[in-house]
Each structure stands twice: as structure tokens, then as C-alpha cells.
């Protein structure tokens, strides 16, 4: 099994939310920072967390005590510990947001270590306890953290086998680890992990090159182990951040602007301050309240009188022109990107059939069912933060920065959280809670309302995609141009052999806060590309499946395409009146997906999805049942963006900040799903949290076109389920 490191490590350019400035600039007196429980003045500068006289930074206390940002410890003890009862504790900076990695990462460790999954305790996302991690996003948990924990566990195995060999005075080659103990053919009794380590840390450097169990030999990984937290969830015992209740805790609420970019002109806090039992605070651009119950906090918030300076700004009606007309030099960490080969102009001239079309996607919201939430508590000179975030170390940095503290005085903890989908990367809620907690002198919980979620969170970027394509008489692409304005470059490559091609990603200004969303720009780019492919196929008179078979060079894309088409019965399908079928194929971050769908359009132009087939491949599958759950969940979520979802903006206001105005997929929208998994045990495991979402939209657009003759080039494809 290869353990090669992925070659790219930087986040995708369209993770715009990671490059925002601080949301709040507090102005409280410098003195406050320097006061500590012990009294007296202390220097606010810090010696790095990992620095100890004479010892390399990583080895301090096994390197486990909260990573210094950016440092990934080599010391085994930072990642894994064996208890005296042979239970195993694993430390990871990844967090569980519903994608199932609490279970699948444990399987990976169980496989290497010879211990049952239920004897593994995963400590996740606590910045004081786990190694530094950049964040749970980008489908990296399986390929990167899975790989890391595989070599950690394999190293630990090696150490334990060595300890047993030493204890018994035998050759370690014949030692095997099973059920939390070491076994040797010449010994009647085993030695448990607890006996071998006797509570001492495992001392070793994680061995990058160590051999791990190949996927073909997996006995625990590769099986459908049930979710370890299921019982706590169904009994209501699991506490999400929004459920936490500490002694003396208050509920916090923040005064929001009436529109984007509005500025406070004046604030009168007195009516709110007059309410008993309420903390009210105005600091810089932050105005908030805290009270013992949420109703009182709401009452206090409503009592604040504020005057705002609002700024006229374009809305949804002007959005797409605005994006194209306002390119910018740089967004995120990169500017405009272009890749080209040959001459698109010449290729188009020589083409037998040409296409030139524009496709658009609006802003959409993540709408996680648990709104973002944080609890903050100041204890001595440290602030404890519980946050439903995908980036605990990022939030730690944001809170440290907001309060001008060293990171060592901020602890962020992430209980298993009510989803994220890429929308919970930033720490504004944590900063809000911490500021109120500081003012109130008590723990404060801030839970955003659904309206705040739909208004003040960052959205998936809107985008305009301009496609030009040319095919020869045999339906082969001879020219291809794909320009993306605003949304990003993920999956912009065409994966076909086209001698003349050009792909450009042009960052633009934006009308709303935007950033990461499941699969980033891959949805927008696939919507444009896979719709255009069908349009070209139709121009040549070739079926959509055959067209793709003639042009795709990526064997893994072809495999899922053929698997989906086979399951669907594409080639034998009959045209039912009022119905249409469509397909699309795509890729993202090492995952490959194809959808074949069927829709019905009734006399009122209502679109009903009658069938969805998905084929998916992401290398060696770690947990098959969880994978299907993720794939189907992504497809269902993608259905929303494809058919219904749109943030409607007017003058800096979101016009539909609620589930009654912003339609998300419901049980009634879902046809039977058929999902085909392709298990490639010969390939490294890739992530599956994002890729399955990328082509449901163009598959539906293609099916609607087949049913009605109407080609729709904008998402969502319907208005509340009806073709427009």
C-alpha cells in the first residue's frame, strides 16, 4: 500500500472566507489584556508553546499539548496513547460534522493496531490536546488524516511488537497483534497492550515509510462499522455546542445591521440596560447583549436604538452582469488563472459544429440544521471556547487575534457538530461569545438564529461561466474554452484530449460574503461543462453517453459513467410521454461521480424527479455503508442547488432568509436512489464528502431538456419546482 503524500497542500483559491479580515475590532483598554488572576502586570508577548529549554519543540510532553500552529508532530505520543486497560486513545485535529470520520478514522487505526473499534476513543478537535490541523475541509480527512493515522498506528504496532519481543526474548517477526494484545506461537499467554506499556507513553518517531496493511488485506477498514455515536444521538444525550449549559451561563445576542456594509451612526443602549439582569456592551463595531434566558436577551436586543448608514448596492437582478464587469486582481491567495494549449480560435474555425453559451449559478446558503454556535468562558487568563466549527485551530487564532492573546491562552473544543458543508470555517460566533463573556464575567452561549444564518454567514459564490466548444463531424472536441467569473477554478479542467483549449478563472467583486461550500466551484464548472457537452452532442446528433465515451480520456470517469448508465439501463431506455432522462459525469479531489436521472414534467410545468442513479469511486473504500450515506446525502443536497435554492438579494438585504422563503430538499422531493459503489482497493483512499455533489445539476438540466426541449442554463433550474 503506497503512502505517498498528496502533492498539493494549499487550500483552493476560492476559500475566500479564510482571507477575510477580522470581523470585530475591539477597543477595550490594553490594561484588560494584561491583568491576570495572579494580579500584577505580565508581559503580553509569549514564548512559543512548544519551546522548552534544551528539547526540540515537538517533544515537549510528547508534543500532545496543543500544537503550535502549523507544526505537525513527529512524536508518536502526540497522536496515540495506550491505557493500562489496553484501550487506545487517538488524538486528531479533525472534527466530526456528520461525515462519519469519527468512525472511519477509528477503523483505520483498528486495522493497523489489532484492536476492536469500540476500544478506540477518538479525541477530536480540542486544541489543547490534539496535534495542529489546518481544518476539516477539502475532502482531506480520509486521504491525509487517514494516511497519517495509518502510519501512526502502524508505528505504534511496531513499538508494541518490539516491547513484546523484548519482554519475551523472542524474534519480533513472529509476533502478531490481535484484540489489544501481542501473541507469539511459543507463548500460551498473550501480553495485553496495557501490560506492555504499563501506562507509559509510546516513545517513537512516527515512521513515514512504514508498511501498512494493504487495502486488499483489510479486515476492519473496508467494512461497514456502524457509527460509534449513534446511541447518544437517538437518545438525545449527545450535546451539540448549542446544547451546552455551564454553571451561570448566559445567552448572548448580537445587534445586526439592516443591510450589508451598513455602518453604525449612533447607538442608544439605555433602554436595554434598564432591563434587569442584562449585560449590554458596545465595543467598536460590536453591539451585543447577554441574559439568563434567550427571551430576555431578545427583549434587550430589541430595546437597543441604533441608527445606521446604509449603502445602496446592486442585487440579484444585476448580479451576473456585475460579476463579469468587476474583475479583481486577487481573491483569496491567488489572482486570475489561465491554462491554454493550441488556439481555440483556430479550432473553432475548423469545427463542424460550434457552441457559445453562458451558464450561471447564484449565491446559495449552506443552511446547516444546527446554526453556528459557540460558548465562551474566561477562566483566569485563559478563554475556553466550545465551537461548532470545522477549523478549531483557525478559530483559536481568530479569538487570540481578536483579544490580542497568545494562542496558548485560548482553548477551542469541538463536540460532534450539526453539520457544516464548508460553511463553518470562521470564528465570528466564538469571538462574539468571548466578547460577551468577558463583559458579563460569566460563560456566554451565542447561537445564531436561522435568519442570521441565511444573512450573515458566507455563501457559496455566484458565478458566470462562458463556454465555447467546437466538435468535428465525428463528435470529437476540437476546441474548448471555459471562462469562470467569480466562482472559482475547482474542476475547471475538461479531462478530454482537446488540442485547442483554454480555461480561465477570473476572480471578481462580490455582492455578498462568500466562501467555501461543498466542492467549491466544481458544481458551477460541471454545470456549465456537462450542460454544454449535451448541447454539443445534440448538435452533432450523437447521444449524450456516446458523446462522452468518444471524448473522455480519464478512465476513472469513464468507469463511473458506464456503471451509472448500466445501472440505469440507459441504452435500453424508452421515452415516456412527459418524461426525460439525462446524465452527467464529473470529478473532484480524487472522487469520480456519474448521475443518470429521469424527470417528469407535468402540465403545470412542475418538475418531478422520478429516478436518480449515482455511481461513485474514490479509491479503496474505508466504510462502504457510510460512503453510500455520504454519496446520497451529497446528491440530495445538490438537488437543492439544482432545482430550488437561491439567495435573493436586494439592496444589501437577503429577501428570503428563512426555510419558508429558501427551499431546501425535503423527503417529498426525493425519488428512490440507486447508488453504485466502485471499490478500487488498488488505489489510495480519497475523500467523498464533496465529489458526489458535482453533477446532479447538469444531469437534471439535461433530463429537463430531453423532456421538454427547453435548455436551461441557470441554476436553480426551477422556481419553487416549476419551470419558468
Amino acid at each position: 500500500m503506497t503512502t505517498s503524500r498528496p502533492h498539493h497542500d494549499r487550500p483552493e483559491p476560492e476559500r475566500y472566507e479564510l482571507f477575510e479580515g477580522a470581523h470585530y475590532r475591539f477597543t477595550f483598554p490594553r490594561r484588560d489584556f494584561l491583568r491576570t488572576a495572579a494580579g500584577g502586570l505580565v508581559v503580553a508577548l509569549t514564548v512559543g508553546d512548544g519551546e522548552v529549554q534544551g528539547a526540540p519543540a515537538r517533544d515537549r510532553r510528547g508534543g500532545r499539548r496543543g500544537g503550535r500552529s502549523g507544526e505537525v508532530p513527529e512524536s508518536l505520543g502526540a497522536w496515540i496513547r495506550v491505557d493500562e486497560d489496553s484501550a487506545v486513545t487517538v488524538y486528531t485535529g479533525k472534527v466530526e460534522v456528520g461525515q462519519g470520520i469519527r468512525t472511519s478514522l477509528a477503523q483505520t487505526v483498528a486495522e493497523e493496531l489489532g484492536v476492536a473499534v469500540d476500544r478506540i476513543r477518538m479525541v477530536m478537535g480540542d486544541t489543547d490536546l490534539v496535534p495542529y490541523d489546518r481544518g476539516t475541509f477539502g475532502s482531506r480527512s480520509t486521504p491525509q488524516m487517514g494516511r497519517q493515522l495509518r502510519i501512526v498506528a502502524a508505528t505504534a504496532s511496531d513499538v508494541l511488537a518490539g516491547l513484546a519481543a523484548d519482554r519475551w526474548g523472542v524474534d519480533r517477526k513472529a509476533i502478531r497483534l490481535e484484540n489489544g494484545a501481542a501473541w507469539h506461537p511459543s507463548k500460551a499467554e498473550s501480553l495485553s497492550f496495557g501490560e506492555l506499556t504499563r501506562g507509559k507513553s509510546l516513545t517513537a518517531i512516527v515512521d513515514e515509510k512504514i508498511a501498512a496493511v494493504p487495502a486488499s488485506g483489510w479486515k476492519v477498514a473496508g467494512t461497514s462499522v456502524p457509527r460509534v455515536s449513534a446511541r447518544a444521538v437517538v437518545t438525545g444525550r449527545h450535546r451539540y455546542v448549542s446544547d451546552l449549559q455551564h454553571e451561570g451561563q448566559l445567552h448572548g445576542k448580537i445587534l445586526r445591521a439592516p443591510s450589508f456594509r451598513a455602518e453604525i451612526l449612533s447607538v442608544n443602549l439605555k433602554p436595554a440596560q434598564a432591563i434587569p439582569g442584562v449585560t449590554v456592551i458596545h465595543d467598536g463595531n460590536f453591539v451585543g447583549v447577554a441574559a439568563a434566558d434567550p427571551a430576555r436577551a431578545e427583549q434587550a436586543l430589541a430595546a437597543i436604538e441604533a441608527r445606521w448608514k446604509e449603502i445602496p448596492q446592486p442585487g440579484s437582478a444585476e448580479l451576473f452582469d456585475y460579476l463579469v464587469e468587476h474583475p479583481i486582481h486577487r481573491a483569496g491567495w491567488r489572482g486570475r488563472t489561465e491554462r491554454k494549449e493550441g488556439s481555440v480560435r483556430r479550432g473553432l474555425r475548423r469545427a463542424k459544429h460550434r457552441l457559445e453559451q453562458t451558464y450561471t449559478v447564484p449565491y446559495i446558503a449552506h443552511a446547516p440544521l444546527e446554526p453556528r454556535a459557540a460558548v465562551a468562558q474566561w477562566v483566569g487568563d485563559k478563554v475556553l471556547v466550545w465551537s461548532g466549527t470545522q477549523r478549531p485551530f483557525g478559530v483559536r487564532a481568530e479569538v487570540a487575534d481578536a483579544f490580542r492573546l497568545p494562542e496558548s491562552r485560548v482553548r477551542v473544543m469541538v463536540p460532534d457538530t450539526g453539520s457544516g458543508y464548508g460553511g463553518k470555517h470562521t470564528g465570528e460566533t466564538a469571538v462574539e461569545a468571548a466578547r460577551l463573556a468577558k463583559a458579563a464575567g460569566k460563560p456566554v452561549k451565542v447561537v445564531w438564529t436561522r435568519e442570521e444564518e441565511f444573512t450573515w454567514a458566507y455563501f457559496r459564490p455566484a458565478g458566470v461561466m462562458k463556454i465555447k466548444g467546437g466538435v468535428d463531424g465525428k463528435g470529437r472536441l476540437v476546441a474548448w474554452e471555459h471562462l469562470n467569473y467569480g466562482s472559482g477554478s475547482s474542476a475547471i479542467g475538461v479531462r478530454c484530449d482537446v488540442a485547442n483549449h483554454r480555461v480561465v478563472s477570473q476572480p471578481t467583486e462580490t455582492l455578498a460574503r462568500q466562501g467555501s461550500y461543498r466542492c467549491l466551484a466544481a458544481t458551477a464548472n460541471h454545470f456549465a461543462r456537462e450542460s454544454a457537452m449535451d448541447e454539443l452532442a445534440e448538435a452533432v446528433g450523437i447521444g449524450p453517453l456516446e458523446f462522452r465515451r468518444r471524448n473522455l480520456t480519464d478512465a476513472r470517469m469513464l468507469a463511473v459513467l458506464n456503471a451509472a448508465a448500466g445501472q440505469f439501463g440507459w441504452e435500453g431506455r424508452t421515452a415516456k410521454r412527459g418524461h426525460g432522462s439525462g446524465l452527467a459525469v464529473g470529478y473532484d479531489k480524487g472522487g469520480f461521480v456519474a448521475n443518470c436521472v429521469e424527470v417528469a414534467v407535468d402540465d403545470h410545468n412542475r418538475v418531478i424527479v422520478t429516478r436518480i442513479v449515482t455511481a461513485f469511486e474514490c479509491g479503496a473504500i474505508v466504510n462502504p455503508d457510510n460512503l453510500t450515506n455520504q454519496v446520497e446525502g451529497s446528491v440530495i443536497m445538490g438537488l437543492g442547488g439544482a432545482l430550488f435554492e437561491e439567495i435573493r438579494l436586494a439592496n444589501g438585504r437577503v429577501e428570503n432568509p428563512s426555510f419558508s422563503g429558501y427551499r431546501v430538499p425535503r423527503l417529498t422531493d426525493i425519488p428512490p436512489l440507486e447508488t453504485v459503489r466502485l471499490d478500487r482497493k488498488d488505489l489510495p483512499s480519497a475523500g467523498a464528502g464533496e465529489a458526489p455533489i458535482v453533477v446532479i445539476a447538469p444531469a437534471l438540466a439535461n433530463a429537463i431538456c430531453a423532456a421538454t426541449g427547453q435548455r436551461i442554463r441557470s441554476m436553480p433550474l426551477t422556481r419553487d419546482g416549476e419551470l419558468m
Binding site: 460534522v97 456528520g98 461525515q99 462519519g100 456502524p226 457509527r227 455515536s229 449513534a230 446511541r231 444521538v233 437517538v234 437518545t235 438525545g236 444525550r237 449527545h238 450535546r239 451539540y240 448549542s242 446544547d243 449549559q245 445567552h251 434566558d293 434567550p294 427571551a295 443552511a367 446547516p368 440544521l369 444546527e370 446554526p371 460532534d416 457538530t417 450539526g418 453539520s419 458543508y421 447561537v447 438564529t449 436561522r450 455503508d625 457510510n626 450515506n629 455520504q630 446520497e632 446525502g633 451529497s634 446528491v635 440530495i636 443536497m637 428563512s658 426555510f659 419558508s660 431546501v664 430538499p665 425535503r666 423527503l667 417529498t668 426525493i670 428512490p672 436512489l673
Partner: protein
């Protein structure tokens, strides 16, 4: 300003002295410390706050506590009998009918309400009864299978 209300929650009589216009969801979570019932939208659109009042599913986020005076309320914490789980809870675990789990309590209570009035619902009846519950993670197919499993004993 407080009003008095007496409610029976999961079989236990509770005397409350709270403002009568506070929602049942607020009281359950913040006064009675029963955090199994969730806030998702505050406008009865997502179903995360579903509880049973006298056996019928209602959205507690839009229900004032004063209207619950004298009523019997069941929350997700009241489904199990000690450590013995309700068939729906067992079924949700067996079918892996969750991802982030945040919608699960509301799903269980809506489903419990369904099974109270229809012991063997077909898929149509399930979909109709559950349409008010959102699962943003998209675990719907498993949720339906879990409800069928709990009802009929066999997933159909």
C-alpha cells in the same frame, strides 16, 4: 413577569413559573434542561423541535408554554424505557439513519406520532407524515427505511 403552568413531561409533573409567552422549546431546553429537542428555524418549518403533546406531534418552537398547561408532553428523552430503546431508536441505529444527527430527535418524534395513529404505514403515509422534517445532510432514504423497520419489523 411570570405565569404559572403545570405540564407533564416524559411522565413527570413539572410546575413552572415562567413568562407564559415563552415557547415550549425554550422552556424544555433552558428551564427543564432537556436539550434533546432542537432549535432549527423558530418558524415551524424544519421539524427539529418536534415533540408530542398528548401523543400528537407539534412544533414546539411556535407553541407558547401557557397553551401547554395541563398537557402531557413527550420529548426524545422520553422515548426509551430506561436503557431499553424505543423500536424507532433501534431502527435508526440499525439503518444508520443519521449523519450529523441534529434532525434525528425531531424525526423520531414525528415518526413516533405517526406510529401512534398508524401502526403499519406504507411509504406514502411515511412521506406525508415526515414532510415537515428537514434533513439537510440528506439521509432521507434511511430514515424512511428505519420507520418501516420499526413499524413492520421488516424494511420494505
Amino acid at each position: 413577569m411570570t405565569d404559572r403552568a403545570r405540564v407533564r413531561v416524559n411522565g413527570v409533573e413539572r410546575e413552572l413559573a415562567v413568562a407564559g409567552d415563552r415557547t415550549l422549546l425554550d422552556i424544555l431546553r433552558n428551564e427543564l434542561r432537556l436539550t434533546g429537542t432542537k432549535y432549527g428555524c423558530g418558524e415551524a418549518q424544519c421539524g427539529a423541535c418536534t415533540v408530542l403533546i398528548d401523543g400528537k406531534p407539534i412544533r414546539s418552537c411556535v407553541r407558547s408554554i401557557s397553551t401547554c398547561d395541563g398537557r402531557s408532553i413527550t420529548t426524545v428523552e422520553g422515548l426509551a424505557k430506561g436503557e431499553r430503546l424505543h423500536p424507532l431508536q433501534d431502527a435508526f441505529i440499525a439503518e444508520g439513519a443519521m449523519q450529523c444527527g441534529y434532525c434525528t430527535a425531531g424525526m423520531l418524534m414525528s415518526a413516533a406520532g405517526l406510529l401512534e395513529r398508524n401502526r403499519d404505514p406504507d411509504e406514502d403515509a411515511i412521506v406525508k407524515a415526515m414532510r415537515g422534517n428537514i434533513c439537510r445532510c440528506g439521509t432521507y432514504p434511511r430514515i424512511v427505511r428505519a420507520i418501516r423497520r420499526a413499524a413492520g419489523g421488516n424494511p420494505r
